[in-house]
Symmetry: C2
DNA sequence: AGTAATTACGAGGTACGTAACAATC
DNA sequence: GATTGTTACGTACCTCGTAATTACT
């Protein structure tokens, strides 16, 4: 008894005739007919009530189909379990303090390591570092390099913050602005910006920051309100078409340098990615 | 993916090495090795940690073995279900008023219908008839023939009752005895004698009847006590070696004629058996 | 006539066994 | 050296597809 016969039995039960099932299974009608006959011989039971041009399931056949589907269900479970396993093996967990460097990391590695999936987890810096050492993330993206001898770190990118002001804003014509200039205003900020959120709150204690989790809602609000928001040198938002101007922020805190870190004894495939990034 | 590979995986897990499993499966070592490699290719996972002369299950392999055993359990369930089905199909339910005619029926049919199992159910006569019409038994053995036009009946055998008396019993030298002669005595009777039990109680209202369900205990008691018991012309108990004599009982009730009955529209295999018996 | 299933026959492919090889215990 | 697993190679078997046949709608 083989699974192929169970698949055949299921197909016949679903399609109603041996011919239709044979077509579905991409084998000839005689081949399917013979295979089912072999199964009947092995089970010691006719599974179909046959006339010369029809074969319909009898009671034993229905019993066989029910059991066949149990087998196929378990086969599916097994294949799913292995598909999951493979996906997990292709996925690297990346702890990061901000989303942008993961985009960059993905862009850097996607063609060199096809099939590898980077699963970003945005966290506070100390938590990212802790998880790297925990091995609960494979890679870490932080604002400071190597803090332990068992780690390897390399600079991955810098990100510069701009105030994204409505064209009529009082600061829209400036060459640069500072957080001090902006403090007290109302801002619209995406929730998922990592460390930037805390940095903004620290530097503009009197600001009214409206968080928005949904990107499409956020973009609608940017279009339809006068709320100040932020972009960076790597923000891929199409800034054109909007009646806004991006003004560089002069404070040191508005310029972030990100480092990619990995444990020295990480699995080979993780170290391979680190080495690849380090060489660019 | 095929069940054969699941059997192979299970065998390797149980036996510890590919070589031992190959021997168990009656295939060559290379064949098994290749088959497992095919499975690994299909699952996209190595299942064994291999050195040049060993292959031990890794985590993925253990996962595969667990799932394989689920599949094999399903297969076993299916095969068991069909074995059951076949056994049920080979078994005919026989409702009977006494055990002896079923022995006779079995003897008559065993070589003509090999593989057919007769499963006797001893019941009161009206219940036997009711169940035949219910179709909850396939054949009926009763004391009277055909009571409905949809039934066919044929005489199957007669059974004559003898008092089986200790040699020193007051009636042991008689040529015949009657129930009247015996009434008031103590008797030992097997529980499973069907209608005979009720007949004895009716004909000997003052008798002290000791029922015994277990045949070996019964025979021990026959040997070691002076209790009167009964035998018939078809009782296969070895009457020799016992210090007892069998005396015919003269009453009409001590002579039973049994009829085999079947419904006219019973399944062919049931009617075949009836016809065979009818012809003898 | 057309559909659906079975039987016959020849061919092709797959997986087998034998043999050779490699490496560990 | 014995055991265990892998690779190479030739072969045999098994199942497939095509074609012919039967019978039912």
């Amino acid at each position: 008894m083989e699974l192929e016969q169970m698949r055949q039995l299921d197909a016949i039960a679903r399609r109603g005739t041996i011919s239709a099932a044979a077509e579905e299974l991409h084998i000839s009608q005689p081949a399917l007919s013979r295979s089912i006959r072999r199964l009947e011989r092995e089970l010691g039971q006719e599974l179909f009530a046959r006339t010369h041009n029809s074969a319909t399931l009898n009671d034993a056949g229905q019993l066989a189909v029910d059991h066949a589907r149990d087998l196929l269900r378990d086969e599916r479970m097994m294949l799913d379990a292995f598909a999951d396993l493979e996906r997990r093996q292709r996925t690297l967990l990346v702890g990061t303090v901000a989303p942008a460097p993961v985009w960059h990391l993905t862009a850097l590695t996607v063609e060199r390591f096809p099939g590898t999936l980077l699963n970003p987890v945005t966290l506070p810096e100390d938590e990212v570092e802790r998880r790297l050492m925990n091995r609960s993330v494979d890679l870490a993206i932080t604002l400071r390099p190597q803090i332990l001898p068992t780690m390897r770190s390399t600079q991955i990118m810098t990100e510069d913050l701009y105030a994204f002001l409505p064209e009529g804003h009082r600061l829209a014509t400036r060459d640069t602005v500072s957080f001090a200039d902006l403090d007290g205003e109302s801002f619209l900020v995406l929730s998922e910006v990592g460390f930037w959120m805390g940095m903004l709150r620290r530097n503009m204690p009197r600001a009214n920051i409206v968080e928005q989790a949904d990107r499409s809602v956020f973009e609608q609000l940017v279009r339809s309100t006068e709320l100040v928001c932020f972009v960076t040198n790597v923000t891929q938002n199409s800034r054109s078409g909007l009646e806004r101007v991006a003004v560089p922020i002069s404070d040191a805190d508005a310029h972030a340098t990100f480092y990619l870190s990995v444990l020295a004894d990480a699995p080979q495939r993780v170290r391979d990615i680190y080495e690849w990034v380090d060489g660019h």
